[in-house]
Symmetry: C3
Subunit: 468 residues, 3 copies
């Protein structure tokens, strides 16, 4: 018995499925181009074995622990560390058993598909995970992790990764990236510039971050001009480690284009800690436009990821810290929000800005119409909670008619769950194959074109959009 259906996610109509299968077969072994993600560069630098199954697959995966918690499992039972150093489960087997016992909660979710994909293709399981098989799973995975072919670099090759981007703060010294490049290993691991820690006044330690940042950028002062120069410097430094993009995770997509005096005054107020909520938002907004202007100069592709209310539960945030599954999407406007940036640089021929959303209502209403006319705009793939079969299908249905395929940028896995990367790209390829086959079957695309488009969606558009 297999965990995976070989025709999973393909259309149910047999005629359409046959074509979808053929399209999928044309790309199933194509290399993985992963231009946006959150794997740890340390893995590739040190190439050390992964820890136990729970540390690999449960404790760090917010998709997994949020679902268990939603049904009453305390985060402590899953080994999530407490801020106050209070007790949290450390026995990997106990955590694993709890996870296995609740595995039915993941029925029909993407997590289930990603996990089963890893269980079957990486570890060779053919019986589903459950309370009954928990220990067997734990033992076999533990053992596998000791083998050389399960180390990060070996998996990189096995997963057929052509290039993978990590994401770092401008305060990062990129030492792991340096170690990778000095190691002589031929895997292509690049960084990306994520300056939220120094562009978002609400980020923890913002004032200290600015000071450290300007110093790192070779600036002796923290004036606005020095601060902008520090960005230029750090962007250059990131580019020297392969970065081709920057990434911006503000709560909204607000942009602003103040004159220089206004921007300086705002910066001074923010830095002095005297800015109110509207002014702090204005600063984030202004910085998106500043970043776009620097992109015109240095060619970094800009990614805007708005719309997540981070750390929504105050008590959970206080108890466990950031990124504990409590990031909740919110309604997100793009049309008014992006106008200042677009009026400033939207027609620049060499600028590229990739927009993401967690608010699907903006696909057909705002994002496709914007990307379908502004030369600088492209649309990122279905993101986060929408990195799923239905999410991707809705994305294609709502975007393609207005923006076409060529204003999209292929797939991003956007993950820190290393073992899920092949599964995620596989899901995207299957959805695209099914979507294209359906277009052919309904006379909206020729079969010949479909074979070309599936290559575009699988790797060509990602390389072009991210200048890889």
């Amino acid at each position: 018995m297999a965990l995976l259906d070989e025709n999973r996610l393909l259309p149910v109509d047999q005629g359409v499925r046959a074509l979808a299968r053929a399209l999928y077969d044309a790309v199933k072994n194509a290399p993985i181009v992963s231009p946006h993600g959150h794997t740890d560069p340390r893995w590739f630098a040190q190439d050390a074995p992964f820890a136990d199954p729970a540390q690999l697959l449960v404790t760090p995966d917010h998709y997994v622990f949020r679902m268990l918690h939603s049904q009453g499992v305390p985060l402590e039972s899953l080994g999530v560390p407490r801020v106050d150093g209070g007790a949290s489960e450390t026995d990997g087997r106990k955590i694993w058993r709890c996870f296995a016992q609740h595995y039915h909660l993941f029925r029909a979710t993407p997590s289930r598909l990603w996990l089963d994909h890893a269980f079957e293709t990486v570890f060779g399981f053919d019986t589903p995970l459950s309370a009954a098989t928990a220990d067997d799973y734990y033992d076999r995975i533990s053992q596998a992790l000791t083998r050389p072919e399960m180390r990060p670099r070996a998996l990189f090759k096995r997963f057929n990764i052509e290039v993978i981007a990590t994401t770092e703060s401008p305060l990062d010294d990129l030492k792991w990236h340096k170690m990778i490049s000095e190691s002589g290993w031929d895997g292509r691991v690049i960084t990306a510039y994520r300056p939220d820690a120094v562009t978002d006044p609400d980020f923890e330690g913002f004032g200290d971050n600015i000071e450290q940042f300007c110093a790192l950028g070779g600036q002796s002062s923290t004036s606005f001009d020095a601060y902008l120069d520090a960005h230029r410097d750090r962007r250059g430094y990131f580019k020297s480690f392969g970065a081709t993009s920057s990434d911006h995770g503000h709560r909204t997509a607000a942009t602003l284009n103040l004159d220089r005096a206004g921007a300086k005054a705002l910066y001074d107020k923010v830095l002095a800690g005297q800015a109110d909520a509207a002014e702090r938002e204005a600063f984030r907004a202004q910085m998106l436009t500043e970043m776009a202007k620097m992109s015109v100069e240095d060619g970094l592709v800009m990614q805007i990821h708005p719309g997540s209310w981070r750390n929504h539960s105050t008590p959970v945030h206080q108890r466990f810290g950031r990124d504990k599954g409590y990031d909740i999407p919110t309604r997100t406007d793009y049309v008014a929000a992006l106008k200042p940036l677009l009026d400033a640089v939207g027609e620049e021929p060499d600028l590229r800005v990739i927009l993401f959303t967690l608010d699907e209502t903006s696909y057909a209403r705002e994002l496709a119409p914007l990307a379908g006319v502004y030369p600088c705009l492209r649309l990122g793939p279905a993101w986060w909670f929408h990195d799923s079969f239905e999410g991707m299908w809705r994305y294609r249905e709502m975007i393609t008619e207005t923006a076409g395929f060529y204003n999209t940028v292929g797939f991003n896995d956007d993950t820190r769950a290393y073992l899920s990367i092949p599964a995620r790209h596989d899901v995207a390829r299957r959805v695209d194959a099914g979507f294209l086959a359906n277009l052919v079957a309904t006379g909206r695309l020729s079969e010949e074109d479909a074979y070309e488009v599936i290559q575009d969606l699988t790797h060509r558009l990602a390389r072009q959009a991210y200048k890889l």
Copy 2:
């Protein structure tokens, strides 16, 4: 000729349909668990025959008369009584003929499916209702209603209802529920606590309601403390008639968690009639949190039904009163709105809050992500205008990947149209069977799991979620 297709609402692909049919067959005769609805307890208390066909099926059903009115039929012609006592049609046959003549308006609507289901399975019709068959329908239904097997209690058994909840105001003395329980009849009819009349300052007669309410709750004063104690008392009284839930129908999902002094001051201002619109909204918001806190104490499951702009047409409201089909859904936020309540009690292990929406954009963006992490939250079924094939399908498609099946609570019929109850549950079972079959056919769920999930969705989750 039948009015109903025996494979209605099942997927069109023959392979998928066969599995869907098998899944449906596994639950089609399962008992009806109806944890939220608006049937009249008097029916079950008195067990009197229903009046004429128009009084049973047309005049009280806002789905029906709103559609006729949208095409120009005056509400008076449908027997809807006027507030000023002006003339309104009282001849059941005339009303029925008008309805029959416009029956084509219901093509492809859920009302059509519910009505045809009752016409065929309860009354034995096999020719569609139309102007030509109107009199025959009227005569045969009139006659049927005189028979003992058409009385409320007989239908209760025939419909295979395991338990049904009605909804009452805290000002209700529950005399019909008392009469049912004293009658020795074994049908399980329970109440639910719906305090809008005393928590919403914009409710008609709010001041008087509070006075009556505090007195009913054994309080000699109407101070805020006495008011809260009256809630505790009435909730206990409702529990003694089987209530396991409360229900809250505010226009928004706003919540607030003021300190005690602030809450008292707000209450005093509201009670004095001196609160402005924002303060009246704040009071409703505060009361949702107060109710949640009481739920932590007494275990009542809390239901929040926001997002309806009630009685939208002022002239119609003045002429015909409340609930005349003019309730229009509005955009509804949950992420900011619920935060105060969730920060206060969202991690309480024994709290359960069921969220409903009329704004489908919140399914994938807000509700599934919220319910997929907060242990107290569950999602109510597709509601009101979305209690339909497409509505339910979109609900499953947009919610399942992020919240799974186990953060949902099965089906609610939410109706006062008694004869439509079997039809409504049948629709839900068919949609779920089709949805699950499609998951199996696309490799997203094992067949074995599908047979388990269909039982969960049909009755197990409803019993668990509502503590029945």
Copy 3:
């Protein structure tokens, strides 16, 4: 080889497709009823040959040039004239080659379908447009345009147009319409009243427009009363050229119903150029209600087309003027916005107001519930970016269950691209046939009813709704 699949857009399941095909066949040759559009009445008045292929199919079609521009093609290269008179390509063949070279951008878009439809059915091509075939296309189309059967009136007959409405400003003297009617030609071309230039204070030249408008309307003053009388007069004048409708393209759906004194004061302030943004919006809102009241008097069907942020890019607007593909949809509210108008005249038996939207989230949440109860309201078809296969399908799925078919008004092509009209109506007929066949296959509609409904959707509802 054909450019078009004869079963395009029909459901993939063979059984459902057969029924869809039969339904489609029943209406594929039905006459075109086009109650809302933007063809140029001059074409029908003068019946002159169309200019070169680029002037016919590329330069004036914002769907086409916006997509090319989104991939970096300067608007100048497509012959779009500059406001400052700067250089813009005038060589039709060069423009055409650029278009042909980028034709892959249109894969899976409605533009591709409309263009291929014209290429095959009007010009007889059977090889796709591409860089390789660009010159052959250009030559053959150029030659065809010289032939008498390619003139506007001949195409009118060939396209089987029963009636077509154009759209004119109240400042228009309707001379082309006069010329048509005096020509003795039997094609039915009617106008529609689009008063934005004199109801929207933000319209270019508003003050001058008002002066000219009142004079045209036979008024010696521009007082509010005279202004309203001028509307009455011009509406009457438009009716004498066949107008049965007015059309209103405000950014929002806001309405207002001030008392006479308040409305006059607002008008005076607006006319004096002293109104702020909120007051200018209030004036637009007030004028929607005034227009509705006049519709009660004179019977013109009112169309409200809100939700587009026109000319979003300031630099592009400055360089190329209005309507250059930079109109971006925005979130649009109807429930609060329309209440003043609906409270004023929403129950008037002879009023008809047709609502359009670019915000699909309003379909199921707001528009279907509103149209499903207010007797004056009807829903326009899927509009603009949603005039597409997926757009129409979502429209039917989200509207039908609550509003039924009979609160919709059939199809509008809403286009200035004359050659696309048959293709657009054909797409609508195919989508409707497929949608109905799917309802039949899932037991939600009888086959007999489906054959009646397809006629309703194709032409009957349009004639009824627009009083044609």
